[in-house]
């Protein structure tokens, strides 16, 4: 197996995730796209871990999974709060930060 196969798979998933973050308006779907991005990073970490025979990559892959879980928890709580206040989770209506 070539390492670049895995790295390219990670790159493709990453770009699809980026596309999703930019295009999606629904907040839940944006969060899902972010999960795609995080998983692509994990694939890279594990590929390098195998390549250099270093366990650190796996350690950090685990950390990323944990952080992702926390991120989804807080993110969905935010979405819920937004829904409660606005009856809508379209991100383009949340432009209070407009300068």
């Amino acid at each position: 197996m070539l390492i670049s196969e895995f790295l390219l798979l990670g790159a493709v998933l990453f770009c699809i995730g980026v596309y999703g973050v930019i295009v999606r308006k629904n907040a839940v779907l944006v969060l899902m796209s972010i999960e795609l991005i995080l998983n692509s990073v994990n694939i890279n970490l594990l590929a390098f871990s195998l390549k250099y025979n270093d366990i650190s990559g796996q350690t950090f892959a685990l950390y990323i999974i944990a952080v992702a879980a926390a991120e989804v928890g807080v993110g969905l709580a935010l979405v819920l709060l937004i829904y409660r206040n606005k009856r809508n989770i379209s991100l383009d209506e949340l432009s209070e930060m407009k300068g």
């Binding site: 308006k25 944006v30 991100l91 383009d92 432009s95 209070e96 407009k98 300068g99």
Partner: protein, 825 residues
Amino acid sequence: MMLAQDAAANLSSGWFLEHAWLIAVVPGIGFFLILAVGKRIKDIKVASLTIPGGGSLFGVASMATSLVLAAGTAYQWIQRVDSAGRTNGALGSFGSSITGMLRAEGEGNYITPVVKSYTWWRQGGATFTIGSHIDGLSMIILLLVAFISTLVQIYSLEYLRGDRRYTHFFAALTLFAGGMLTMVLADNMVQIILGWEIMGLCSFMLIGHWWEDAANSRAALKAFFTVRVGDVGLLVGVSIIFFSANSFATRNGFGSGFDLQGINAWAQSGTASHTAILWGAVALFIACIGKSGQFPLHTWLPDAMAGPTPVSSLLHSSTMVVAGVYLVARIYPVFHTGLSINVAGSHFNLIAIIGGITIIIAAALAFVQTDIKKVLAYSTVSQLGYMMMGLGVGAWTPAVFHIFTHAFFKCCLFLCAGSVSHSGSHHSFEMKKDMGGLRKKMPITFACWMVSTAALCGVPFFSGFFSKDEIIDNAHHAGYDVFWIIGLAGAFMTTAYMTRATYLTFFGKPRGAAAVEHDDAHGDAHDPHDLDVDDAHAVQPHVAGGDHGSTTDDHAHQPVMAMARTVGDVADIHGDVDADDAKEAVHADDAHHAAKHDVHHGPHESPALITVPLIILATLALFSGYLNAAAFSIHKFTDWVSPIGGQFFPKIGEASGELPEAAFKWVNALPSILLVIAGFAVSAAVCISIYGDNASPLKGITKRIVPLRWGYKFLFNKYYLDVLYEKIIVHGVAYPVSAAAYWFNQNVLDGIVNGAGKWARKSGLWIYKNVDQRVVDGTVNGSGAAARGLGSALRPVQSGKVNQYGALLFSAAAVAALVLILVNT
């Protein structure tokens, strides 16, 4: 450490020295206790005495505990010094041959610090420790911080009574002292950063204590950000030192390159790379410039007056601003070697130059202030300049001694100012509007003020004389003649502006709030029956007094708060806490009230909780100088505090030269004494003619003579430094960035969306708009357009749309990655 053990074997130690870490831990515990239960504790009344609640006593108690521990530490340190039989101080006029021999031997006489070090964490091969490092310097500063903090907390019990954030104030004050103590105790640079940042945070909270007022929160932000600019230097400096000193320190058994002893030994060893040590010293000194309010980052200090007076007092005397000076003194070998101090033929170095500039410019600014606290603030800046200059010319002991004496008299001066505003001028700090002639009404405050002023000016036999004169004298002795002259000029200016402030506050005719109810002793405007209607009536004069044309940035113009506090005061007289009860008490005993309430009419002396700290501090301002009175051959302070002969560590390899110490001669002190007298005479004469009653040609002189008016305006605007920072630098950086973002948004993002057809037209328009209109016209129109463009330029990119931000982020990342790849191939 290894080398020092032989010497250490004979030195005495003790419980307090071994457990010095408790000094910093106790305020930390106090802080959490105040936060946890403070709000639930109500005031307790015992007869006519009110025991303040709100958790404030936890603060006082924790500081008192720290003080006891610090005193024990100091005592045992002095025992340790004595057990070594070291008397290097006698190198003054009675330099005996025995001492000379002891000094020559050097190493045998070095008092090893008591170091307790625990591993905090290990990461990437570096060990981070936390612990305590007690030597003469940290001993004396610990004692100072704990002492001043205790007094300031006692003072605040009365001063802040009835404040809406009473509990939080004490919590922050306690943590503030805890941060300073942590930093002073530190045995490594990481712990110094820790304490340093805790102080930064607490100063922000305390300066913005009354944040409802925009000016206060602005001042807090300014203090925080200005100090932050310097803090970058701290991080950079610590990193530089760590990476250059680490291998040396590890090799010689000091743990890591963070260890203070390791750093000092490294700097003195002569093996250090000069580039590394130079830039490390410069970066660290930038941090000290920010923290200690040196030119050009001194602008935050006077604004920090927006906090309550006890905060200003603590901030300016023993904590926060001293931190920068302390850091320089702590790892002095780094600066001494890095900046080539005392090297033959070098007449300038960064520390001395910055210190010298600060002395003069801050003293000049103090002349045009009308706010009494701002005069004191600039005076602090100027005195800190003395300390820095002292360190810069190699006068280590005098500089540290000046920290010591300055803390007492400056703290006292601030608390006097607070006392004046608390009881004399209805919460106003405006000298010209609301003060004057207070010396008879507030005799204790006046006496304390005079003693501290004399100490600050360096009048002989007051404490400031023994420290400041030593710095000036040493500058001359070490061959820094320019800084000798600057020091003398500073002494002259100090006396002059303090005379002006004293005159305006305590002499002349009462003005504004100080004159309220002053001459017609028993307020005819205050019919006791009015009090029935509403308590607000009772406090009306107070509020009016506080509001009286006041433009101060202190709390004077917070009528609600002034009222709340005054209601508290009224209530307190009756032994009641509740304002409603006070009304009934007024009902019950009109006559009693009328008699009592007269106390609150016009200026009066402050209550004991305020005056007792004042008296203690004034006494120390008078006598603390005698610890190191070179004029009388007393060198206790030098014995206890100073590393022997400027040697900070037992020699490893080639040691750098010893610090020169000037022997005291009255002849050398003569110029400064004469200048102090001259400063007093000139300033008193000018003050009387300008602010006095008689018509004088000097009156309004700054309005009539053009160059003087310009000078006044220049000083009044603080050399336009604020304008430079906020208008020119910040906007100068922000505008190009925002303009670029605007351009990107308008032309790239929209362009893609709108398609290629519009793009072509747009780019044509853009060339017209940007190149023709903007660049050509813009250059002509200049800065006016720049300022106008700023606001509107940043707006469109802040669309508030998350997706758009995401698109910007990722495309920027892609472009950056592409650039990196292309550059690297």
